[in-house]
Subunit: 148 residues, 2 copies
Amino acid sequence: MKSSSRLSAVLHALMHMAAHRGPMTSEVLAQCMSTHPVVVRRTMSGLREAGLVTSTKGHNGGWSIACDMEKTTIRDIHEALGEPAVYAIANSNDAPQCLLEQAVNAALDDAMKEAEALLLARFQSLTLAQIAGDFTERLRQRHRHKDH
Amino acid sequence: MKSSSRLSAVLHALMHMAAHRGPMTSEVLAQCMSTHPVVVRRTMSGLREAGLVTSTKGHNGGWSIACDMEKTTIRDIHEALGEPAVYAIANSNDAPQCLLEQAVNAALDDAMKEAEALLLARFQSLTLAQIAGDFTERLRQRHRHKDH
DNA sequence: TTTCATGTAACTTTATCTATTACATGAAAT
DNA sequence: ATTTCATGTAATAGATAAAGTTACATGAAA
């Protein structure tokens, strides 16, 4: 399976944008995320449509955060990305005739839906501000280390 | 994302094997699962190594269940398949230097590990016998429909 | 000894995510 | 005005992983 890292990448970009005064260009963000500027634009376009970020052209242009870090959750970001599939596991057939396969699918779906609901609930309870707070905590830890 | 359907396919095969007296060939199983016999062998080899099924060559050869349906869980099957990745979502970088990215990864990992633990716990609480039981229930339902 | 069926390596196909190129649009600086 | 900077987006290429296929070896039963 090939897994997507868009959610992780976008969150990383948002953290940099939050820690930076003024817009950041796709090129700079792409360097942070070791990817291509066009990939940044493509990925961020979903967030722009959702009103979570803004982009401006020309000199001093680039990307800026346009949402409340305290209120915006990981789930909001996930939705803005188009709610990509969470699981790498899927049924081999979505509407099987075979009753045996139906029973298998029902059992798997049950378990997976429950786990997905938990994951989305956790995403919903986690704000950008909390992640930023964890960052400052890590910064403190690092400085404490250096001092001794 | 391209999701793997091996778990679903293998469970479907096991249900057919349980409902069938005597070994089933890879070719017949492949037809049930609309796939290729070699894919069946490849996929089932993990289960054979785990002792969950046996395979015999030659005339009247094929695959047979070798485990207790009451005691074998979906999680056992998942493990026998090599515990393939559950998520289609991953961090873009597993050991980032950037503290911002570390904070993002930690937040995502937390939520995802918890959801994965729940999923695996559900898998562990679900036996092959339960799925087979659900099948007979569905069969009953279908017959009831026909009778009215 | 022939036939059937698995075991497995090697290769091909297919699907999907990511990267890149190319060009259009528009805003600021000169 | 025109140049420069930066995004917007379509189109194409590359990379990767799962599934499909081919080919041939192994071994058991008829």
